[in-house]
């Protein structure tokens, strides 16, 4: 597709890390089908790093490519590193996105961050419990 870079096309055609994680450590769900796109990210955390990342996405080619790229970028990184993955970084790694598709990269970064926040919330409870 002329509007998409080759990397977008490659990730769209062969998305990495599609799927769900049983008993994930965190879940991040963003968007809704009314607006067009919806992404759910599942993460597994080990030693403060993302040991595994999976996603499910309802949306356009860009949304799927963004999900795939974001999951790749996040895998193996520390939680703090992942929190620094911005929409711009995802779009850059994809060699850019068309103007009207930039919101997809927002969703990708948001979903990742939400999954980590979700993990931290669960984990904090754990920690708090530990401390007690």
């Amino acid at each position: 597709m002329a509007i998409y870079s080759e990397r977008v096309m490659e990730h769209f055609m062969n998305p990495r890390n599609v799927g769900e994680i049983e008993n994930p450590d965190g879940i991040g769900e963003v968007g809704n089908p009314i607006c067009g796109d919806m992404m759910t990210f599942y993460i597994k955390v080990k030693d403060n790093r993302l040991d595994d990342v999976k996603f499910k996405t309802f949306g356009c080619g860009a949304a799927i490519a963004v999900s795939s790229m974001a999951s790749e970028m996040a895998k193996g990184k520390t939680l703090d590193e992942v929190m620094k993955i911005t929409p711009e970084l995802v779009a850059d790694e994809l060699d850019g996105l068309p103007k009207q598709k930039l919101h997809c990269s927002n969703l990708g970064a948001q979903a990742l961050h939400k999954a980590i926040e979700n993990y931290r919330e669960n984990h904090k409870k754990g920690k708090d419990n530990d401390r007690e």
Binding site: M1, F12, P33, G36, K56, C60, A62, A63, I64
Partner: protein
């Protein structure tokens, strides 16, 4: 790779005869029809014979045909030109909720200019109820514009009934026949309309060639001012080759309409019956009977249209979608929404537009290629997994 063009809704491929008819006008017959010399004469004769061909296609007279640069221009010209020419009588116009953007946004512009615009709703098949038009007509209503058929869902509107109502009320009736003229029989007298838009690239003619048919005696303001081309109603050097092509395309469409329709209906009906029987959770959009012969439109639940288009394209199949993601405005098709289809389902819109070059093998190929694509995307879809877990 096999290549299957099934997007004849967006535009069609010129027939060889049309292209052949145009070529001399890019070559030695390059004159400007307004000019007083041989080159001018040849160009002028060419466009006048095209005018006859186009008039014949829709049962009008040649003097009633105004050539424009596109279907969109014809619609703008009709809506704005008729409203401005008749505003002394009133400033109220009526259009349907499923008009093409060229009508909708022209009406919106009129709104900015102090006109009042009423929208007529449609039912779940996309059909306008003529009585809904009647109810909206007021003393100051000057114009009603209802499309002859909606290309996105294929529904054909009851223009003959609507024109009885507009005639009783002495209101001008325009119809956007861009999806129908050259495809199904269109006769301005039978329809009872006062103005009708058409575009040649919808029936195997060139782009850049639209026309507005305007009943003799109906006043209109030009959209494009300047010279006296098209009887002073549409200025600018005529796009001679495109006009010639539209004339030839009109002639061919007129002559072979019955066989073309038969061919399209066969292909369309196969797809309309076999896609829902091959793929679960599919909604057919548009009217089951009052439907354009080449139009097979669906919503595939739980997945999104653009992604399907891209995977189909990777298999050589070209179609279109009314999903929000394929629109630059990122809004789901106003047509599907007006038909009360939920947003999430509208996102899965797919539109197959058959053309005269398509064959039964093309349908086979779609039926082979589409199900795994749907499956692949559903496997990725959080909506689908939710559905599997909890039901809808």
């Amino acid at each position: 790779m096999k290549k299957v063009y099934l997007d004849n809704v967006s535009t069609t491929r010129l027939t060889v005869e049309v292209r052949q008819a145009m070529l001399p006008y890019f070559d030695e017959n390059f004159g400007n029809p307004s000019c007083v010399h041989e080159w001018g004469d040849i160009a002028k004769e060419g466009i006048e014979s095209a005018r006859n061909q186009v008039a014949q296609l829709i049962g009008g007279t040649a003097e009633e045909i105004i050539f424009t640069g596109s279907g969109t221009e014809s619609n703008n010209f009709a809506i704005k030109g008729l409203a401005l020419a008749h505003q002394k009588k009133g400033k109220h116009i009526i259009i349907s909720a499923i008009e093409h953007f060229s009508v909708l946004h022209s009406a919106k512009t009129l709104g900015k200019w102090g006109f009042d615009v009423s929208l007529v709703p449609v039912d779940k098949y996309g059909l306008v109820d003529p009585e809904d038009v009647r109810r909206r007509i007021r003393k100051d209503t000057i114009l009603v514009s209802i499309m002859h058929a909606n290309s996105e869902v294929g529904t054909i509107e009851p223009i003959e009934h609507i024109s009885q109502i507009t005639k009783e009320s002495e209101v001008i009736l325009h119809t956007d026949a861009i999806a129908t003229a050259g495809t199904i029989p269109v006769n301005v007298q039978k329809l009872g309309v006062d103005a009708l838009s058409l575009a040649s690239n919808q029936f195997y003619g060139p782009k850049g060639a639209g026309a507005l048919w305007l009943r003799q005696g109906v006043r209109i303001n030009p959209l494009i001012d300047g010279g006296v081309q098209e009887d002073g109603r549409r200025a600018g050097t005529e796009n001679v080759p495109a006009i010639i092509g539209s004339g030839k395309a009109a002639e061919l469409a007129y002559d072979s309409m019955t066989t073309r329709i038969e061919h399209l209906v066969n292909l369309r009906d196969r797809l309309l019956s076999e896609i829902p029987s091959t793929i679960d959770h599919v909604v057919i959009t548009g009217h089951p009977k009052h439907r354009l012969p080449g139009n097979a439109s669906f919503c595939i639940e739980f997945i999104e249209g653009e992604a399907m288009l891209m995977l189909l394209n990777s298999k050589g199949i070209a179609i279109t979608s009314g999903s929000a993601c394929t629109s630059r405005a990122l809004k789901a098709s106003h047509v599907l929404i007006a038909m009360s289809i939920p947003h999430a389902i509208a996102q899965g819109s797919l539109l197959f537009g058959f053309g005269i070059d398509n064959s039964s093998e093309d349908v086979d190929y779609v039926l082979e290629v589409l199900p795994p694509i749907v499956e692949k995307l559903r496997q990725m879809s959080p909506l689908y997994s939710k559905f599997l877990k909890r039901g809808k």
